[in-house]
Symmetry: C2
Subunit: 246 residues, 2 copies
């Protein structure tokens, strides 16, 4: 089945950032064009992307479910992954960089929200492993609000090897671990390259990766842990607060 994305924001952002991914845009026939849909039509014209008006009422997602398309679907090529070695090599400015590593996020809502947070926070990349990670499907693209086209996503065969390589290249590894006692506020995120590592909601981070980490931190809570995408947002914004305002 051809890849597709849906939802106004996801389509607008893909047209703005990666129009080359789009094969065709279909807008619901007879729908009133609001500002966002008008923007989509104009962007299609500007980028020479084929669009037409068709009947999307019977459109079902990859699980055979109806979803709220917001009147627009685009057929697309998959999100291109960035090469890990290339990413490591390309630090022209010499500025400190910050990334997110996902060790087995299987829920597309969480994955999409984390990509969006990484883009909002100006993070440099997201690294995912081959296994135990949700594919970048239409739900992920929708929830990311098109941010998949903004943040480089790197897929590696082995997260362990990638983390070892990061360490060899002077990166610090900070793992989110609900079983530790160390508060995330006690880390100084300034003046270093760092990777924030998040594990799956069920199992957390795999032991080997926890053992490779330089710091293990948690968010203090009065009730279990936070949703992983919320937890990620809290820490990303704490790093930004420290880097930009202290």
């Amino acid at each position: 089945m051809e890849n597709y994305i849906y939802g106004k924001n996801a389509v607008v952002e893909t047209l703005l950032n990666s129009p080359e991914r789009i094969n065709k845009v279909i807008i619901q026939k007879g729908i009133g064009l609001d500002n966002r849909l008008k923007k989509i039509v104009n962007l299609c014209k500007d980028c020479s992307v084929v669009y037409n008006f068709g009947d999307l009422k019977g459109f079902l997602n990859e699980n055979g479910e109806k979803v709220n398309l917001q009147g627009v679907v685009a057929y697309v090529s998959p999100v291109p992954y960035k090469d890990f070695q290339e990413f490591l090599d390309e630090n022209k400015s010499g500025e400190y960089r910050k990334i997110i590593v996902l060790d087995g996020i299987s829920d597309p809502h969480n994955f999409g929200a984390i990509i969006r947070t990484a883009a909002a926070g100006g993070y440099d990349a997201i690294i995912i492993g081959q296994r135990r990670c949700c594919p970048i499907n239409a739900t992920v693209e929708k929830i990311s609000s098109g941010a998949v086209n903004k943040v480089p996503i790197i897929k590696v065969n082995s997260l362990n090897s990638a983390i070892q390589k990061l360490k060899e290249n002077d990166w610090w590894i900070i793992a989110l671990d609900v079983h530790t006692e160390d508060n995330y506020l006690n880390i100084d995120y300034k003046n270093m390259n760092f990777a924030l590592v998040f594990g799956s909601e069920g199992d957390g981070i795999t032991k080997t990766i926890l053992n490779l980490s330089d710091y293990k931190v948690k968010l203090p809570t009065q009730f279990e842990s936070l949703n992983v995408s919320c937890c990620c947002a809290v820490i990303v914004y704490e790093t930004l607060r420290q880097i930009n305002y202290t």
Copy 2:
């Protein structure tokens, strides 16, 4: 249709915090009992809650979809709402209190994640309006990981009136508004009762409520806005950082 919840955490937390809500627990027949499922069986015994083993394979959610039940469903009475006036009156300790007000969150994933964040952050209540708010359904309870039983939820006829009443009672109203320039870090969240107000992803906060607000703040971003539940988590944890660590 009878209310139900599903998922191990949601059922465990409901058994721990509100066993009186549970009419019956059904565990998938023939499933291997892991620690969480064993805990559910033991909690049912301790709380005298009826449970049995049945076939859940054909179980469909309220939209007629299959969902990952994690082997357990519980039939429950609805989450009881807290009375607004009672909440206002009951500040025995005289300590400053903090709440979240939701002006039209329609996505159950966001609603559930916000409830979980409020519980994790020790917030005192969540206020929702009659209209434009997602009902507390099985998805919300699942995503909240059972936190619906931890944080008092107040449903009011008019959010405008509720906010006016809060102001009369010496609460400060802080609205999240992507159109403002004020950084959320510039507010001093200590030494006051405050309500953080979040609007719907599509429309934001209604104008009347924005006009009633004492502060309008936003998260600085390099790409659109964050997912509303992520945004909520960032601000909740900034308030906790200021209150507990500065």
